[in-house]
């Protein structure tokens, strides 16, 4: 069988292709982005055999995958954990409609917030939707679980959630591919024409059906090869290790023989029988899981009486942040090593805008125009431009969730903060800024909206941005007055002119939109290199 060295993300994409997926949909977000990037580059996608595409946001991506499943074929959607908040409506309802073709939802959590606003745990969403959750512990399992996830989804007729974390997503290891599959499912509509019509009358029926499936969903988990008991003689402690935490545990035992019994969890709902056996036979239970204390909370129960449970809630492990071999060693009372302490002189090196980045010149002009007003008025959003919160710019005052700039600016203006400024990127504007702008226009709110058009989704590595170069048409269509739509060029030479434009629009008592437009330095130079390479290799070919 072919072996590849793959990131966890890439293993998921490869597996979906190998499992006969028809469509892969996503909105980029660290640490999930490489799934769709890999799929996009695959021969299958380039030849048009599968669809692998970036969508406007996670909700539209989730719904596209749901449409594929409706048509009887296999669909996958991937996103970062906070993306599942955006996709939550179709996600929860897809459990009620159920799946026709296999439907796999991949959500990549980011414990320790390496590049996120929070470390929410997607497993709660899986439980909320009452569907199976798969959680791989290594890249091979990530690959295998995609195959299993589709099959499981088709056996149970429910979507399946594949939960990964940053560490698995962005770590490489050897993965063995399965033999080629049988090809894609044929186009086949659901037998029951009412399955996808969630009018109360049929939704109630569907919901009861989902409830009725719970026993089977549990039975599948109890029989799953991803939930295993690993024998250990010392019953003073029993360990539950979920996903990647299992690896950190085993790191401490040379021959991979832990003295305590271990239940490895990779398929939820948690297998009741294994859990019960462990709790009954061991004096204490230590729960190792990346993310929130999901398993731990369920085991403790509200009254927390019975077997002594240790984990993140009793301080045996840190309450927040990613697990690692060291914290697990401490929880087990094993000696933890540490090398030489970091010398005091070492200072942190925060990320910063690239030299020559267009956002720099937008902020320089905005900052100067804002000197006539008191501070705290710039409500911003998420993207490279979020770095404008740091020195030397200190240009923005909020960053909450994608799309929150325009809407929060409107609210702040309603509350009397006039003018209020929104700063949002082109991709974020499409993701979830448009609806907010419609609200602002509808209520004639005194907000100045700055849409930074660097013609890409830069923060996540330069995926295409569907709004590039046509933002003015979109905002005009929404109803922003033409004379208050100002396209500017964020370059040093135009600084004075740009300051004037900002000042004029800040003074306007209504919705105005300023669009600084210049391509991201990184994507521009990549295109240049590619163009050169093409000529280069052409020459070599002769």
């Amino acid at each position: 069988m072919e072996q590849l060295v793959l990131l966890g993300d890439e293993a998921i994409a490869q597996a979906a292709i190998d499992a006969g997926v028809t469509g892969i949909y996503a909105y980029p977000g660290t640490p999930s982005t490489e799934i769709t990037e890999y799929a996009e580059r695959s021969g299958e996608a380039r030849e048009g055999k599968i669809k692998a595409c970036w969508c406007a946001n996670e909700k539209t991506a989730m719904e596209a995958a749901l449409g594929v499943s409706y048509a009887g074929r296999r669909g996958m959607v991937s996103m970062k954990h906070v993306g599942l908040n955006v996709a939550a409506d179709p996600f929860i309802n897809s459990a009620i409609t159920g799946a026709n073709g296999g439907l796999l939802v991949v959500s990549a959590d980011d414990p320790s917030m390496h590049s996120s606003q929070n470390e929410q745990d997607s497993r709660y969403y899986g439980k909320f939707a009452m569907i199976p959750i798969l959680e791989p512990g290594n890249q091979q399992e990530a690959y295998d679980m995609v195959h299993e996830g589709f099959a499981l989804s088709e056996r149970l007729h429910v979507p399946v959630l594949l939960r990964i974390t940053t560490r698995l997503a962005h770590s490489r290891a050897v993965v063995k591919r399965h033999p080629a599959v049988t090809g894609q499912n044929p186009l086949q509509l659901p037998e029951n024409p009412m399955q996808y019509i969630l009018l109360p009358l049929s939704a109630r029926k569907r919901y009861r059906e989902l409830l009725g499936k719970q026993e089977r969903i549990m039975r599948e988990a109890e029989g799953s090869p991803y939930n295993r008991w690993i024998e250990g003689k010392d019953r003073s402690l029993g360990i539950i290790a979920a996903g990647i935490a299992y690896n950190y545990l085993m790191e401490h035992y040379e021959d991979r023989k832990c003295p305590y019994p271990v239940v490895k969890i990779g398929h939820y709902p948690m297998p009741r029988k294994l859990m019960e056996d462990l709790c009954v036979s061991c004096e204490q239970i230590l729960v190792l899981e990346d993310g929130y204390p999901f398993i731990e909370e369920l085991l403790r129960g509200y009254l927390d009486k019975g077997t002594k449970i240790r984990g993140r809630l009793d301080g045996s492990l840190p309450r927040d942040g990613e697990l690692n071999p060291g914290v697990i060693a401490r929880a087990l009372g094993l000696p933890a090593h540490s090398g030489i302490p970091v010398p005091d002189m070492v200072v942190s090196r925060p990320p910063s805008l690239c030299k020559g980045c267009p956002h720099i010149y937008s902020y320089n002009a905005l900052n100067e125009a804002m000197t006539s007003y008191t501070g705290g008025r710039v409500l911003s959003d998420i993207g490279c431009y979020s770095l404008g919160a740091l020195s030397p710019y200190k240009a923005i005052n909020t960053l909450v969730d994608m799309g929150s700039s325009i809407t929060m600016a409107k609210g702040a203006a309603d509350a009397g903060l006039i003018p209020a400024v929104a700063v949002i990127g082109d991709s974020t504007f499409i993701h979830s800024g448009i609806t907010g702008l419609i609200d602002a226009v509808d209520h004639h709110a005194p907000v100045t909206v700055v849409i930074l058009d660097n013609q890409t989704t830069a923060m996540t590595g330069g995926q295409p941005s569907p709004a590039s170069s046509r933002i003015e048409q979109i905002v005009e269509g929404i109803g922003v007055e033409k004379e208050h739509i100002r396209v500017i060029s964020p370059i040093p030479r135009k600084h004075e002119e740009n300051v004037t434009i900002f000042s004029e629009e800040l003074a306007y008592n209504g919705v105005s939109v300023i669009i600084p437009r210049r391509e991201c330095i990184q994507t521009a130079s990549r295109k240049l290199k590619q163009a050169k390479n093409q000529t280069g290799s052409g020459e070599e070919g002769t």
Binding site: S171, V174, G339, P341, M345, L387
Partner: protein, 194 residues
């Protein structure tokens, strides 16, 4: 055989490609590997590191436990110091001494170099200068890769193969420069080891 390597540098310096090259050489030698990378935000000029583990038996954790790294390979002097708690007692710090200054409070370079010289096992040299001798400062990464070779128990040819594969699309001149850089780095580190 088991080698745990922390690679360190600044976003954009190409730490991940060194990691990929060692990974490729390890694979070609039939070894197991796990390589944890950092993507995303930190790539914009922030601190970047990667954990690379190679062994002749399956590896459990993607992360190297603290105090267990055999080698810190750093393309920047201050960045190497950042990961010292990862280093084992017998571990080596192999570092470039050419600073990458993109922050206003970058410490005094002499103090950094003094600190490096206090690490029991270290190899420190200006890899940028050495790279220039091969024709391009951009081979600095490959010089550093070369300097790591004496610590890795992987045959030298495997690295040459890895370079050839990695730079295949870039043409023979680039491959030649990088092979020269590889040799220079290795020779220097060997001398340092005595």
């Amino acid at each position: 055989m088991k080698k745990d390597i922390v690679l360190a540098g600044v976003g954009g310096q190409g730490v991940l490609s060194i990691s990929a090259l060692i990974g490729l050489a390890a694979m070609k030698s039939g070894l197991c590997l796990k390589q944890a990378e950092v993507h995303g935000m930190s790539q914009r000029g922030g601190e970047v590191h990667s954990h690379l583990r190679i062994a002749d038996a399956p590896i459990a954790s993607d992360l190297i436990p603290e105090g267990k790294a055999d080698l810190i390979l750093s393309v920047e002097p201050m960045e190497g110091l950042r990961y010292l708690p990862m280093l084992s007692e017998k571990g080596w710090l192999v570092t470039n001494t050419q600073p990458f200054i993109n922050i206003s409070n970058y410490p005094d370079l002499d103090l950094i170099l003094q600190e490096i010289s206090r690490i029991p096992h270290h190899v420190a040299f200006n890899a940028d200068e050495m790279a220039k001798e091969t024709g391009s400062v951009r081979t600095m990464n490959t010089v550093m890769l070369g300097a790591s070779i004496p610590f890795l128990n992987i045959p030298f040819e495997k690295f040459e193969d890895a370079i050839t594969v990695f730079f295949e699309s870039k043409g023979s001149e680039i491959i030649r420069m990088n092979l020269a850089a590889l040799n220079k780095g290795r020779d220097f580190a060997l001398k340092g080891l005595g």
